[in-house]
């Protein structure tokens, strides 16, 4: 890096040596290269990194939310032993959708392809965590009285499901890393990384029992 700088200062003077004028193209080449790399890194690479998958059925959360009386827990319920049911199984949907209730093509498709054939819908779960993560919905929703939106966002108001973006390298959903490639976080539900869990745990004033980290014990979230 020293040499081009020396060229720049000497190029204008009468005492310039043989390599006069070579500094300009080198710097230009460097700047162009830098711009090209940045464009590839920030613009071209992110869409390449994620594959886009369509959900099997375009589910309308807002419509269902208006018809049920217990909010999210009407379908995403807790079992008696405190475990969380997660994405509903076909058996639950059948309670209302044995036959199409309306003329929505998505509902007709759901009944024709899945209900009639008794096939589970292969939903793509946006918030699926790696296998080494232990997460308890009961601890957060029942014990800490947190709202679903705090982590999942206003998905209950959405009228259609966004494409599921899968990281081609890790296989995890883009919702774990977050939409923003810069890692900027505006809402509490923008990301679901370990730091995001830790941030809230620290802010909630838990006095962790970990001797090494003075945070929560490792096994609280890892398995």
């Amino acid at each position: 890096m020293e040499e081009p700088k020396a060229n720049v200062t000497s190029s204008g003077s009468e005492h310039g040596e043989k390599e006069d004028g070579a500094g300009g193209p080198i710097i230009l080449f460097f700047i162009l290269g830098l711009i090209a790399s940045l464009l590839i890194g920030w613009v071209a690479f992110p869409p390449l990194l994620y594959s886009q998958k369509k959900q099997p059925i375009d589910f309308n959360h807002a419509l269902h939310n208006g018809l049920v009386d217990n909010g999210c827990e009407s379908c995403h319920f807790f079992r008696e032993d405190g475990t969380y049911s997660g994405v509903p199984k076909l058996a639950q949907c059948i309670e209302c959708h044995e036959e199409p209730n309306g003329e929505d093509p998505e509902e007709v498709k759901f009944v024709e392809e899945y209900v009639k054939n008794e096939r589970e819908v292969p939903w793509l779960v946006y918030s699926r965590q790696p296998a080494c993560v232990f997460f308890s919905h009961a601890a957060h929703v029942k014990n800490a009285q947190m709202k679903c939106e705090s982590c999942h966002g206003p998905i209950g108001e959405s009228e259609s499901l966004k494409p599921y973006q899968q990281n081609r390298i890790t296989g995890y959903s883009r919702d774990i890393w977050g939409e923003n490639i810069l890692g900027v976080k505006r809402h509490s539900w923008d990301r679901m990384k370990m730091d995001d869990c830790a941030e809230c745990h620290a802010a909630s004033g838990f006095s962790g029992g970990s001797v090494q980290t003075e945070k929560d014990g490792c096994l609280v979230c890892h398995k």
């Binding site: 008696e80 032993d81 405190g82 006095s207 962790g208 001797v211 090494q212 014990g217 096994l219 890892h222």
Partner: protein, 261 residues
């Protein structure tokens, strides 16, 4: 960190009751997805979180006696949670939790230097020399609450921490925050047909473990029960596994690792 509502989960194992049947070992392996191989006879290479040892009094026929000693992770507290393995881990893969008294091992953080195995005086830490291979169809019976470990990392007993979390989930769903004694029990405790293993919170005077172990917290948890002993107590590891035996030679065996021949 030292809070009055902190738990100190621990175990009392009555060696007078233990028959050495090995049910605890089997239950532990099934519960915690512990890998095994077709030929697991070389105990330096095989993995068991719970291992039953045989002790002998070294005497001949009329006086010959033996005793079986099940050995899970001793969950050393040391001085303020500085157990031997936790002190040496360079990856923060193992840690002492003051809120439960459990020494954790997080497989995804461990990179397999095995320093902890060298530090552990009880040989409870085991190394995965191979990736686990399950007999056909057995992968369907793996426990989803315990992650499967890969080749090149260390694993050990966690006091079935996932059972603690499942029990807490149930309590939360019922609007409680505290567990009843029977709600959180390890797999080995429940499997023991002789009822030799008792598990619970050593800090809770109502729990059976507390009554049996009678830990004297002013003296690093030393037991006031004359029948009780802990393994290598003089090292100051302050373990949470208490053994009971009515025989003096057994009690002595627990603390004489280096005995002159």
């Amino acid at each position: 960190m030292d809070q009055p509502n902190n738990k100190r989960f621990g175990m009392v194992i009555d060696l007078d009751k233990c028959t050495g049947c090995g049910a605890c070992m089997v239950a532990c392996m099934a519960e915690n997805n512990v890998p095994f191989r077709e030929d697991d006879t070389d105990k330096l290479l095989s993995i068991a979180w719970m291992r039953v040892y045989r002790l002998k009094n070294g005497k001949s026929f009329p006086q010959a006696e033996e005793c079986f000693l099940p050995r899970p992770c001793q969950h050393c507290e040391g001085h303020h949670g500085h157990s031997p393995c936790v002190s040496v881990c360079p990856a923060t893969a193992t840690d002492y939790d003051m809120q439960t008294g459990i020494v954790s091992q997080v497989p995804t953080r461990c990179f397999g230097c095995r320093y902890c195995m060298a530090a552990c005086p009880y040989h409870v830490r085991q190394f995965n020399w191979w990736d686990p291979v399950w007999p056909d169809g057995m992968e369907r019976s793996l426990n989803p609450d315990v992650s499967v470990r890969m080749r090149g990392i260390v694993e050990k007993c966690s006091f079935c921490y996932h059972r603690y979390q499942r029990a807490l989930d149930k309590a939360y769903a019922e609007g409680r925050r505290d567990l009843k004694e029977h709600e959180y029990q390890t797999a080995c405790t429940q499997a023991c047909p002789a009822g030799a293993i008792t598990f619970g919170d050593l800090n809770n005077p109502a729990h059976a473990v507390h009554k049996l172990a009678q830990p004297d917290m002013a003296h690093e948890g030393q037991s006031r029960n004359p029948k009780a002993f802990r393994l290598l107590e003089r090292l100051g590891t302050n373990t949470k596994i208490y053994y009971l035996s009515s025989k003096e030679w057994v009690r002595k065996a627990g603390d004489t690792a280096v005995q002159k021949a």
